[in-house]
Subunit: 174 residues, 4 copies
């Protein structure tokens, strides 16, 4: 199966112009590699990455998945191909984590923190962008508890992220 | 967005050879119309429709979505493009219903019955195939309670299903 | 542990005066036997049974549990001791079924139907009151599918329900 | 309604003898004040506080609630009065947070971190015991993001916790 990259980070309130632009570029680059992306389907970084993917020349249909808290599709942002309405409220965060083969965290407040903590429990790797304030930066290269290690990897440039993803998926059957 | 057709009905235990073959053909016909399909991702009719879609010349990548009870992708059948591992157990049924724009019910035991009851609560139309024993046949053209009506539509031939779907999506913005 | 009796049936819209009064008396009788009750915490039969329990001389604190769809306690009816706010929407129905050691169904539309179907999947016995129109009456003494049997038991008088419950819990460790 | 105190912290793996003994004493003291407690129903600190409550002379029936990941009651520890089997896996953490009127965090790894992050999103106060290593200590008196503040309160002695709880519930209608 085609790899799915999960994007977690601040919603509308916590996402400034710099983060949004980083997201647009990241979405573009991920689609250019043929990855699908999955987000929580709302505003801020979730919208930015989805939009960056959809507006790029690399866009392919079916590549942008949104897993939303509400029970209807209208609640998603305008840049999604496939909307999964969970009706679970913020419990949907864990479905985002389960669906992603690997995650990228950018900025982020309490919601993102809970997702990183979930990812840790589920043994998922999280690439933690250290360019913006928030839990992604704060937890980069840290261990959340002593039961495992090396799941939270500090990253910065989008080119580096793309290289790490290539390595990650190289010898892995999905 | 491209329409998503939800398929509900018996799993491995409740799915005989006739139902499985009907499912294969249905999957083929749905893909030929350019629809995506969503199932609960396990055996029986869920596998049959997914397989019928994937093995047909009309197959296009990203068209077969599985929403599974488990928290990992390996638990899905082998004919899925996009797996959403909910970790919710049989609670995942309601996410299948929420994700589908319209549903097709085939045969079916208690799990299918709960999904038809959910669909009713969420105002979703269910095409109830009356060719096989089960809750789909039993509830075709019936009302589940007196709060709404005409959501459970009796169907039989796959050609008729395709015609009804065309009408259904004609004037609808998804 | 003290047995917990789950009550399922129509909410405010589907609950007429006769059903409500049956519920008041049922709540009273269940508390008099020292049972806890669990409901979905909203109006109609859920309120009636909770209120019948709370207003009776047999009431004991901690006996009336409400498992509500919302994420806050204020959303429950006024006759609950312990409120479990799930934030799961109508997905909370399955938590009600899981929490009950045995269920009593009264009247009921699509929501109740989905709960009876869940109970069947989870091997829970449901006492189906046949005095009022609805899915409880319709499914009394029926089998939902052919994978199991004898889980849906027709009942009518409250005295009979109390006798059946006594037998049911006699040799059972909870 | 009687206040419900949520206890979050390390399960069996992360709970040493000192934490377990602190938990026993805390459970005893909470019951002596007439509070109910709610936990995730498994081992470690969840078991310790429940056991401390159940074994004390202040124990009253119906005071110890367990909200477990599994779909059956047998999965809870042996010191619970009321078991709510969610069938939600680690998603049940948010139901624990929603059910508690206030929380006490002790030690804690990734699971506890996700619960503190949930509590923050739901505007719940968390008393963070600073005596043991873990996320409770690390986040005591910190802010998780800049959207709110003063929800994570550093505590140490059990007597102080009891005083803070008294103040907290004094002018609050539950």
């Amino acid at each position: 199966m085609r790899p799915i990259i999960g994007i977690i980070g601040g919603g509308k309130e916590l996402c400034n112009k710099d983060i949004y632009e980083y997201g647009l570029e990241l979405g573009h680059s991920l689609l250019a590699q043929g990855y699908r992306i999955v987000t929580g389907g709302k505003g801020g970084i979730m919208e930015a990455v989805s939009r960056g993917g959809m507006d790029s020349e690399s866009y392919f249909e079916g590549s942008i998945i949104a897993i939303v808290p509400e029970d209807n599709k209208k609640s998603a942002n305008d840049f999604c191909d496939i909307v999964i309405p969970t009706g679970l409220g913020i419990n949907r965060n864990i479905v985002v984590v389960n669906t992603a083969d690997i995650l990228i965290a950018i900025g982020g407040g309490a919601g993102t923190l809970s997702e990183i903590a979930f990812a840790w429990q589920k043994n998922k790797t999280v690439l933690c962008v250290d360019e913006f304030e928030g839990w992604a930066k704060q937890l980069a290269n840290q261990n959340i508890d002593n039961r495992k290690s090396n799941l939270l990897i500090r990253v910065n440039e989008i080119d580096d992220i793309i290289d790490i993803l290539k390595d990650f998926f190289q010898n892995r059957t999905l």
